[in-house]
Symmetry: C2
Subunit: 554 residues, 2 copies
């Protein structure tokens, strides 16, 4: 009378034993257990003359992670069933880092801050199962860092033993795209430096290599810029809610040591209402009402770009910002310019009429001014898509274009020959789906509903709709957090582990199967938790411990 | 040439100076500042003989909150503009708590655990502006606690001075509904006791008085029940992820002292797969596949309610649970019974056929058994709506019915004469809108999309569609967190401050204007943050500091 059901845990996938995220390009692994020696050491090959301090620091962090992650395997029993395998396993005594002969030896930081095309993150990792030394070989210190990050993810802990289950391991790895970013808006709400540092650590764990720092917006201007201190003095939320030059230097240094470049954005000429606190004469439709006629969100106000004083001031601002940020890239923004604001602004109309320029001609002059300042500082400009799709500004073709409105717009940007950074709201906006935040809209949903799941981001194809000769224009992409409804207290759960989805798409390449990936994503999410990151659970723990059993067809 | 815009902060609302949440029934306030004396004291009137310890403890907590909240006022400058008003203000020396003569003196805990109809939370609060003592008068210690909670919300801090801005204050207050709850699912994912305690503290801050503890489900059974220890021994996620009898006792005590009753739910006969870990013969379609044919979510498995042994065992379980939970109410669940599971279960079909009962007759016997056990223990049963809308089980009319599928179902439940607890997914489910969590559905959204905003919950009308003679059936309601995608690390931001919306609806009554309420909700959310609760920002700080300026028509 008993209903016939199957109790066995069948799997329709060939289960990857290891749980690396992002998945390496080439991975061969065994099924032999290996223990980490309590005296485990990492050494730098004598062939690396004058190894940089940040490589030594990276090694120290890896040693710490190996012994403090204490991640129990995500199986029922959390590793109890591994004991019989590991209790007779060999001990791994050491790991050696080497550079291919002839490789230039630079700091990780210097490698991470190179222009996109020059970045080298290639590495090979070998972990024998017989107790002989493991090795990472690369052609840059940055590659060695990536190998260390991968190595850390091989290890689990059960009752004091640190062990791997999948040796021997042979990995040959390199990223599919040179730009794998995360954007954080620190203007709608402010984030203390400590939150940014923790976020950088987590980014590095999944090999995200670009921190796109949307540092100012209409609501606040927290960045202290020498020579432009009035912006933060009047525009920061408080005198404590600022990023001082030394904060910025520390964040950049902390990022660099972790293989992350910092591309800052000072969004202009839109998204600048707060500049009116210190320069009311620079801002059109400053606090104009109803704001909805003049701005995408409150408060209204945009720089009077047609004014020569404002344009010169803006160019000078980017000159100063260029001194603060060593990255080869700086974003000048350029999204959501509200033309009605300028149409209604007497000063702007006067400036246009008196110089005989059209709106677009004046905007061209303005952007050429800011981009010229960047060029003089040796920087490549990045802009939001409207700067090339809505206006004919004759921008330099080396300009990087972030496509945010829709992934459908990528083709048009590529058709103009610009390099693309994917930032599509329809896949990658981490803030979508949290409801409306405008104060008098009780039935409203977020403008970009629904919530962008990790699964959906994971289906993203960076090369969709492009011709093969356009593929080289795709630099990579990122997930993004706009912070109208986020602050320090929900930063971790709204980002992690979701932002790992794009990290894998742009490292490992598109086409991964999300269903097969989920156990690995659980694993890296739990590892983040072990490191103090407040990740959101993707499923009930029952599911996390039983790969594939919470797929719908089971 | 200048565009004419208005810079003044006009308000279309009569701005409530105070920021109390939930809003008292009757509130008269002035515009005079008042300072809290550094030697401020709270005393219990000599008319209260043998004041209970938990009232003394509540006073201690209030004193602590007054001096440690240190909440800056949510205006530009965070209180700097209040200095001129408060620097000449009187000092409030003390607050006196009194009970109306003839009031019975019970502990706050005992008052909180009374049956719904007997709860007394009435209080009056008077705070003069001239430096004479403030007073709270009530007819129960629970009312005094509510008054203390309100009193705490009057105070702000600026550079060491603790002050109010709206004295004299006269408040007469009482809840619109006796049940104002929060439901937490501790089975899909486990929450340490400390998370529950922090949640109880936050509930108390907004006068939520019922913790509806969905303690077990198909994924895990963390509750240790004397005589039924095998359930948690085999069904908890780990030996650490349990609630011991002493944990439960502590949680109930902690809740009670804060004016909160704990209504536990052991959901049966559905949502019980995990019982199969210890009693495989008790569970139909245990781990059957594909689970989607047998269950609403993985894993499949439901108690064989038609089996006499299972029915008796279940009744005994509720007898034991009744001993652990002093509340007058215990929920036996009863949602989402999957009939196909039973149709396919040979044991169940045998049990039905051999006793000559229909499915519904056997279910009636089962529920009468569990409810009989509760009745024998002096408890009132609560059930999910299907128990009265989908089945004709002849339940006692004192049964409380939680309406979750849709608020549209409330009328049908009331038409049957049952008392209602609002728990509608279309208004109150805190987990909606976070995407699909089933492992192989890359384009799926949450089943109850979109995200349920605080604004929308705030529009809820508890009496909608009812006739006036049915109003007395409405006991109140609650927001609910199902935890497929929640854990300790996102507990606070997914609940708070959203769950304050229903707290006000069911305390102050329906019909509040959300736009007018937002500044108060910001205030209580920031106060929660000052107490270590990780609340989500509702808006950019720019908006939080400028009431109504982020409404759409500005």
């Amino acid at each position: 009378m008993q209903l016939l059901v199957s109790f066995s845990l069948l799997s329709v996938f060939s289960v990857t034993v290891s749980a690396l995220w992002p998945l390496p390009q080439n991975l061969t692994e065994g099924t032999t257990a290996l223990r980490l020696s309590p005296s485990f050491e990492i050494s730098i090959s004598s062939g690396i003359a004058d190894a940089p301090q940040d490589l030594y620091d990276a090694i120290s962090r890896t040693i710490t992670h190996l012994f403090t992650d204490k991640l129990g395997r995500l199986v029922v029993g959390r590793g109890a069933s591994d004991v019989s395998a590991f209790e007779t396993a060999a001990y791994l005594p050491s790991l050696t880092l080497s550079l291919e002969s002839g490789s230039e030896v630079l700091s990780i930081t210097a490698e991470a801050q190179k222009p996109l095309e020059e970045r080298d993150e290639v590495y090979t990792l070998t972990v024998p199962s017989n107790g002989t030394a493991a090795s990472i070989i690369a052609t840059s210190t940055l590659g060695l860092l990536r190998g260390l990050t991968t190595f850390e993810q091989l290890w689990y802990e059960y009752e004091g033993t640190i062990y791997a289950v999948n040796t021997p391991v042979e990995i040959g790895d390199a990223p599919a795209y040179p730009y794998r970013g995360l954007m954080l808006d620190t203007a709608r709400n402010y984030f203390p430096v400590s939150d940014i540092l923790r976020t950088l650590d987590t980014m590095s764990l999944v090999k995200i290599n670009e921190f796109n720092w949307h540092i100012s917006d209409s609501q606040s201007f927290p960045l202290q810029i020498p020579g432009y201190m009035e912006l933060s003095e009047y525009g920061a939320y408080s005198s404590q809610m600022v990023y001082t030059p030394s904060d910025v230097e520390y964040i950049i240094s902390y990022a660099g040591e972790r293989g992350i470049d910092v591309m800052v954005e000072i969004d202009t000429p839109g998204h600048t209402s707060i500049i009116g606190e210190s320069h009311p004469d620079f801002v059109a439709c400053y606090l104009a009402r109803p704001w909805a006629s003049y701005a995408g969100e409150p408060p209204a106000g945009q720089l009077r770009f047609a004014n020569a004083t404002v344009a010169n001031w803006s160019a000078g601002l980017f000159t100063e910002v260029s001194k603060m940020f060593p990255s080869s890239m700086i974003s000048t923004g350029g999204d959501e310019i509200q033309t009605y604001c300028y149409d209604m602004d007497g000063e702007t109309q006067y400036d246009l009429n008196s110089t005989g320029r059209t709106f677009e001609e004046a905007l061209t002059d303005y952007v050429h001014g800011t981009h010229g300042a960047l060029a003089a500082a040796g920087k490549t400009p990045a802009v939001w898509e409207e700067m090339v799709l809505d206006y004919n500004l004759s921008l330099s073709t080396d300009t990087l274009v972030l496509v945010w409105i829709s992934s459908d717009d990528v083709k048009a940007v590529a058709d103009q020959g610009f390099r693309v950074i994917h930032a599509a709201s329809n896949y990658f906006y981490l803030d979508c789906g949290a409801g409306e935040w405008i104060g008098d809209d009780p039935t409203g949903n977020s403008w970009c509903d629904p919530f962008k799941t990790w699964q959906y981001a994971y289906t993203f194809d960076p090369l969709a709709n492009l011709t093969s000769d356009q593929y080289s224009l795709i630099m990579g992409g990122q997930q993004l957090l706009w912070t109208e409804q986020s602050g320090p207290d929900n930063l971790d759960p709204i980002i992690w582990p979701r932002a790992a989805a794009s990290a894998e798409v742009f490292w490992s390449g598109a086409g991964g199967n999300g269903t097969a990936a989920l156990p690995r994503l659980h694993d890296v999410s739990f590892r983040m938790q072990q490191r103090g990151v407040r990740t959101i659970p993707l499923q009930p723990l029952w599911c996390a411990l039983r790969p594939y059993e919470c797929d719908s067809y089971w």
